[in-house]
């Protein structure tokens, strides 16, 4: 691999390729900062996927019907798959899988704040599919055209699968919203709980995101946080209206002139509190992940022992 010390000619060639909307592939020369930025982003994206299995996994045994249970199982399995696609993409940049997991388990790398909120009723599972996966799709679709080939290809796969996630959530939400008064209330409560955290998923306002410009120049990020958030609000408010539910924002209004919904201030203190580790479920999520990893150690050891035994036998037969 070529050295990543600053080399104006190589740097120029690299940037020209990005500006021409061409893709960077693993063995190409790339600036050290580009490599680092991508490893960090892809790894934390992967962590978000696998931690994201927990809030919904919490309801697999209590799904209200066999149909819902089968759907939820498939969805949670998809999240595991998305995590694996992404860890593989990070490894093409020279990261190590075990090391990335260690960085997650020791809290040095983070995951999306959204997964530190609890799923207190079945309606939360519906709301996650509809809102959280809906917000994720808004973020992830532009990433299918990201300048780094392996990340873009992983995102194409993820986005294909993610649309089922959002639809099943909206369908489950529809059943509740059109159901008994108690079910309606459950649906509204879930929307009240998940609306603002979903808007926070797009990250701080543009004027508070100093690194975004570099990511844009590198073709990693294509739209600003506020642009994507606006798209999400514009797409989702009519869906809430269809459900007959009320978006918990007294400042929300349609702005005829701009053709967009205007919405209230986001409570960024809450966002930073959750990111720092003091959200409702931070400790529980991480403990659960570490426990799953440690309790699964014997499986990895057994698989390695089996592989070693098979390799020995093959050698003996050949000898």
């Amino acid at each position: 691999m070529t050295s990543e010390t600053a080399d104006p000619a190589l740097e120029q060639e690299f940037q020209a390729r990005i500006d021409a909307d061409d893709r960077i592939e693993p063995r190409d020369w790339m600036p050290a900062g580009y490599r680092k930025t991508l490893i960090r982003q892809i790894a934390q994206h992967a962590h978000s996927e696998i931690i994201g299995m927990q809030p919904e996994g919490n309801w697999i045994t209590r799904a209200p019907s066999l149909r819902r249970k089968a759907i939820l199982l498939a969805k949670v399995q998809d999240e595991a798959g998305h995590g694996l696609y992404l860890y593989s993409a990070a490894e093409t940049l020279g990261a190590d899988r075990d090391e990335l997991l260690d960085l997650l388990h020791t809290g040095r790398q983070k995951y999306s704040t959204i997964f530190n909120y609890p799923t207190v009723t079945w309606a939360d599972v519906a709301a996650i599919g509809w809102l959280v996966d809906g917000a994720a799709i808004m973020n992830q679709v532009p990433l299918t055209r990201c300048s780094y080939g392996p990340y873009a290809r992983a995102m194409i796969r993820v986005c294909k699968e993610e649309s089922f996630h959002q639809r099943q959530g909206f369908e489950a939400m529809t059943v509740l919203a059109k159901g008994t008064p108690a079910q309606r209330k459950m649906a509204q409560d879930a929307l009240d709980r998940w609306w603002w955290p979903s808007l926070m998923m797009f990250g701080p306002n543009d004027d508070a995101s100093p690194n975004s410009a570099q990511s844009m120049a590198w073709g990693i990020k294509r739209f600003s946080n506020d642009e994507l958030r606006q798209r999400f609000v514009d797409a989702t408010v009519p869906q809430a209206e269809f459900l007959g539910l009320t978006v918990p924002d007294p400042d929300l209004r349609w702005d005829e002139e701009s053709g967009h919904y205007r919405f209230g201030e986001i409570d960024w203190d809450e966002f930073f509190t959750v990111m720092r580790g003091d959200g409702p479920c931070n400790r529980q999520r991480l403990q659960r992940r570490v426990a799953a990893h440690e309790e699964g150690a014997w499986v990895r050891e057994a698989a390695a022992a089996h592989a070693a035994k098979q390799a020995r036998r093959t050698q003996e037969v050949a000898a």
């Binding site: 070529t2 592939e25 063995r27 020369w29 960090r40 982003q41 790894a43 934390q44 994206h45 962590h47 978000s48 994201g52 998809d78 798959g81 696609y85 593989s88 490894e91 093409t92 990261a95 090391e99 260690d102 960085l103 040095r108 790398q109 983070k110 995951y111 999306s112 704040t113 959204i114 997964f115 959280v132 994720a136 973020n139 992830q140 990433l143 992983a154 995102m155 993820v158 926070m200 998923m201 797009f202 990250g203 701080p204 508070a208 995101s209 100093p210 690194n211 975004s212 990511s215 990693i220 990020k221 946080n225 966002f271 930073f272 990111m275 698989a303 390695a304 592989a307 098979q310 390799a311």
Partner: protein, 121 residues
């Protein structure tokens, strides 16, 4: 961790920090080898690279590949190859390596002029 100073957003499934996050510390020897996965999506088509995964041996790699890359009937056949066994051309030698084909446009049918009145050529 405060707004602006040590945190900006990036990430697909929700915002995550982009500063004060270590990315490579080294010293973690991989416990399971990496495998490249190739999937034939249907009969009549060749196997295409789908991605990679970790597994202790070829048998487990195939099973993992089935669960990871064909959850929606994306394939009728899978190959797994140890990533360490793949021999690749290096982009550094791109020019010299692919140059021989660069000056041979006569290998393409569009190189030749065909009179308008001549058919079936």
């Amino acid at each position: 961790m405060t707004e602006g100073s040590s945190f900006t957003s990036a990430g697909g499934h929700g915002a995550v920090p982009t500063t004060d996050v270590p990315v490579d510390e080294g010293g973690f020897p991989g416990s399971q080898p990496l495998w490249e996965v190739f999937v034939r999506s249907k009969r009549g088509l060749s196997h295409t690279h789908a991605g990679s995964l970790h597994a202790p041996d070829a048998h487990m790699a195939l099973r993992n590949a089935r669960d990871l890359y064909t959850r929606r009937q994306e394939g009728v056949s899978i190959w797994v190859v140890r990533a360490a066994d793949v021999v690749a051309s290096s982009p550094d030698e791109k020019d010299a390596f692919f140059d021989p084909a660069g000056d041979k446009p006569y290998r393409h049918p569009t190189f030749y002029e065909v009179p308008a009145e001549v058919k079936n050529l």
